[in-house]
């Protein structure tokens, strides 16, 4: 149990730092967009990679546990929800587009990764 918890924590730490750096870089590319494109890209790419890992690596394998932990920390559900709420305060249509496009693209990416 201790080992598993430690690896998930370590993976989340690595993944979250990658998310932090990716957000800074992506925000430069997608400045002034109507919806948070950076978070969409992070959650969609993470879903693709985790979909691939799930179908291509044994889930008891050390590499799978570490890599899926990194992806688990890289993607974020809380920011997705929080940004939807913040967007809703300024523009309801943008909030709805963001809310729906993230889940649709995320599930599509996970499916593509799974069968890739």
């Amino acid at each position: 149990m201790f080992e598993y918890v430690f690896i998930v924590g370590l993976g989340a730490a690595i993944g979250s730092v990658i998310r932090y750096i990716a957000t800074i870089l992506l925000n430069r590319l997608f400045a002034n967009h109507l919806i948070p494109v950076s978070t969409i890209i992070i959650n969609v790419t993470g879903s693709f990679i985790l979909g691939w890992l799930t179908n291509n690596l044994s889930n008891s394998h050390f590499a799978f546990i570490l890599m899926s932990s990194i992806i688990g920390g890289y993607t974020t559900f809380s920011t997705y929800m929080n940004e939807t709420v913040q967007l809703y305060r300024s523009n309801k249509i943008h909030a709805l587009s963001y809310y729906l496009s993230t889940v649709v693209l995320g599930v599509l990416a996970a499916t593509l990764g799974f069968y890739f």
């Binding site: 924590g9 688990g72 920390g73 559900f77 809380s78 809310y99 889940v103």
Partner: protein, 127 residues
């Protein structure tokens, strides 16, 4: 660089708590991940509500808690892969129940969290 180190440490804690809850897996893994995501959505929106107005949260602390602790605690990729895993096993009803439950309650908890964060501040100001 200093922020990245704070995020690393706090995300380790957030991720380890998620790992522990997944390992203990009291009801089942779908309920566990959904509850983690719903709780995390509430907490992040609460912190956002707190920090929007006059409450000065130092940016290092804010990024450590929001990007690190809560960002590492919640996960979108596990949610989307669990959804297609259910579809793969022809559990279509369960898959959509999981999706709607996570997204619906996640959003509601973020709305309540943000509101609570803003009001928490007003109460303190009123004193």
């Amino acid at each position: 660089m200093r922020k990245a180190i704070f995020i690393f440490i706090f995300a380790f804690i957030g991720g380890a708590v998620r790992g522990l809850l997944s390992y203990l897996n009291v009801v089942n893994i779908f309920v566990t991940i959904a509850l983690i995501n719903i709780l995390g959505s509430f907490l992040l929106a609460f912190i956002t509500g707190l920090s929007t107005k006059s409450m000065k949260i130092p940016s290092d602390v804010l990024v450590a808690i929001s990007t690190g602790l809560i960002g590492g605690f919640t996960t979108f990729s596990t949610f989307s892969v669990q959804f297609i895993n259910l579809l793969e096993h022809h559990e279509i009803g369960l898959a959509f129940t999981y999706l709607i439950f996570s997204l619906g309650l996640g959003l509601i908890s973020a709305v309540i969290g943000y509101d609570a964060g803003c009001k928490f501040l007003n109460k303190k100001e009123a004193k």
